[in-house]
Amino acid sequence: MQIIRSRTIHDVVIVGSGAGGGMAAKVLTEAGANVLMLEAGVMFDTRRDSKMMAWPYQSPRRGLAIPERQFGEFDAGWGGWTLDGEPYTTAPGERFDWFRTRMLGGRTNHWGRISLRFGPDDFRRKSLDGLGDDWPITYDDLKPYYDSIDRYIGLFGSNEGLPNDPDGIFQPPPRPRCYELLIKQASERLRIRCIPIRLSILTQPLNGRPACHYCGQCGRACAAHANFSSPSVLIPPALATKRLTIVTNAMAREVTVGNDGLANGVTYVDKNTGRDNHVQARIVVLAASACETARLLLNSKSSKFPLGLGNSSGVVGKYLTDTTGTGVRGFIPKMMGGVPHNEDGASGSHLFMPWWGDNQKLDFPRGYHIEIGGGRRMPGFGTLGGVHLYNGMGVEGRPINGGGYGKQLKDDYRRFYGSTVGFAGRGEMIPNENSYCEIDPAVVDRWGIPVLRFHWKWTDHELKQVKHMQETFRAIIHEMGGTPLTPMPSADQGYGIEPGGRIIHEVGCVRMGNDPKTSVLNSNCQAHDCRNLFVTDGGPFVTNPDKNVTWSILALAMRTSEYIANQRKANAI
């Protein structure tokens, strides 16, 4: 079958429609470029497709995950750590779980909206502790873009003047829930600072979008557009210019290159027909996600680029990192028999603990922040599960023996409802040479595209950090008079560290840098080897600080896109 070749030459083709692709589309179309966007998944409209306000009993599964929606059947995200027909492999004895969301907007549809700027130190870690590498840019280079997205997209938070957790342009944060104040009390007694979290959820109307209505279900997609997702905030202004064309179900196979060594378009599989299509463009922007972008480059081999496009350094696929993570839940007898009230609030916690430690006094580098949860949440599959783990001393001084049956159990369920809290640590992994992805020499996906093979190893840096998380969470639970619901994980259990990829903050693989021998992109996220090829997803990240990556993907994507627009204006590309 012949490849269907379009004769139209677009100014820009963007692969991907999430944070990086959506931002590139907005900036470039508004700067006058005609843009074609390729999205491997389905069309998604938050107004039409949101499952906001569904009750668990509207489905016989009661909200449980299904293979197509691995965060629960009401979650907005179409995707998961496994996709039918789209395998990946891992090196023997190693584990990396790769999460892919196949829909317009990608993972911005169901992320946690935690929007933390990287701090000044995060861009120069090697200079500070000798590990990893410095970025080719500084906080000051990125600050104006953080400011722009704060103003345009909006988020709530509080200015605290912390040296490495920069202030922003915040809307007022929502009041904490009562149990969050209890956590704050205990946390501060242990000298751990607990402050309002920073979420890209509006508490005041902004740019035509309404304030939050506090149903607490951002992950189901907000039909009111009160939180950030690419399809609700970035795609609409790009479409309004009439210069954006979106092609869904378009799985990119290869970036094509002309005789001049410049990128000249993208070949993609139309998943509806199974046929290959080729589109032409003067500039190619990859925003397919760190690993998918690396895969696309490695699969774009030609006589000029035998190791894959942009890969003369051999660095494509290298320096892959995810966030470290572990969690513990605790049963807090003081919270038993709580006063009934609606504490849904904004999605996620209203408070968090930014990194507070002093590495001089610790046995691991870098740090983590703590996310919290608990309280009287909407019942779903798993609610009040594991009741036999609830043990301890009740407030009345009567011991609680978790378990049982009958009237006693039914009353216990009522008393226990809303009486647990949860802590999750999210920490910085140091890039290491044993964690990377490459093309599997034997395996292809259902369209014949060679797939990724992952290599993954934690080092002592991460394991000691996660041990510290577990000890800290347990100390807070005890300080609250509670009992952890699970025992302290052992060294053999990696202190409870989640497998690589499970926190879904994977970045790196096409890192930026000043030296073309050790990096794929320059300081403008432009390929050293190919001046009309750019990357705007998490791929360019040199390190992976403990600040959830989306806000920095957006800021860096905006900076890169403005650079592209200026280069176009100057006729430099």
Partner: protein, 194 residues
């Protein structure tokens, strides 16, 4: 967008949710409801007729009817469990084997199946497996089964309208202004906004 328009969208949400629910899933729910309404016997897809009788009795022992709400069978828990066994086949052997363990234990002690035992006899067996912290090691398999059965009963019960009302969950609604938690809730935990 104006507040009025937002509310319009929110109000239309329940209807919109019908679109995404699997036809199959909705069928299962309405089939269970219709069957109950018409008093037609529910035809399980996983449980045998005998197993279903045991499941009904056991689920109601776990969550009985009381002054505040109905029992597990009133909330359709056995039908929910049957659906889950088909939905997640990995649960099947443990469920079937656990029910068999219970009958076998009753046979050993009383020469009767669980359903034929007296209330006191049933209680004697359940008391040995219902509190993991004080259970004897020889009952470990019974404990594991009962933990799992209790959790599934809870999942099926507390996610129904009846269960949600019983728990007095007051959310999943549009709130014009978030004021935090009421004074009574703050006071109970000994915290404040000052």
């Amino acid at each position: 967008m104006k507040r009025r328009d937002v509310l319009k969208i929110l109000l239309s949400a329940p209807a919109a949710t019908m679109v995404w629910t699997d036809a199959e899933a909705m069928q299962a729910v309405s089939a269970a409801q219709t069957a109950r309404a018409a008093a037609e016997p529910f035809v399980p897809k996983f449980f045998t007729a005998t197993e279903l009788r045991l499941v009904r009795v056991l689920a109601d022992i776990v969550i009985p009817k009381d002054e505040r709400s109905g029992s597990a069978t009133d909330a359709g828990v056995p039908e929910f469990m049957d659906f889950m066994m088909i939905e997640q086949p990995a649960r099947q052997v443990a469920m079937r084997g656990g029910l068999a363990w219970l009958d076998r234990e009753c046979q050993l002690r009383f020469d009767k199946m669980f359903l034929d035992c007296s209330g006191a006899q049933r209680t004697a067996v359940l008391d040995d497996i219902a509190w993991p912290a004080k259970a004897q090691p020889e009952f470990a398999h019974g404990v594991a089964f009962f933990n799992s059965f209790r959790d599934l009963t809870a999942a099926g019960f507390w996610t129904t309208r009846m269960g949600i009302d019983d728990l007095q969950y007051l959310g999943n609604r549009s709130v014009a202004r978030w004021n935090g938690c009421p004074d009574a809730a703050l006071k109970k935990l000994g915290v404040s906004y000052d």
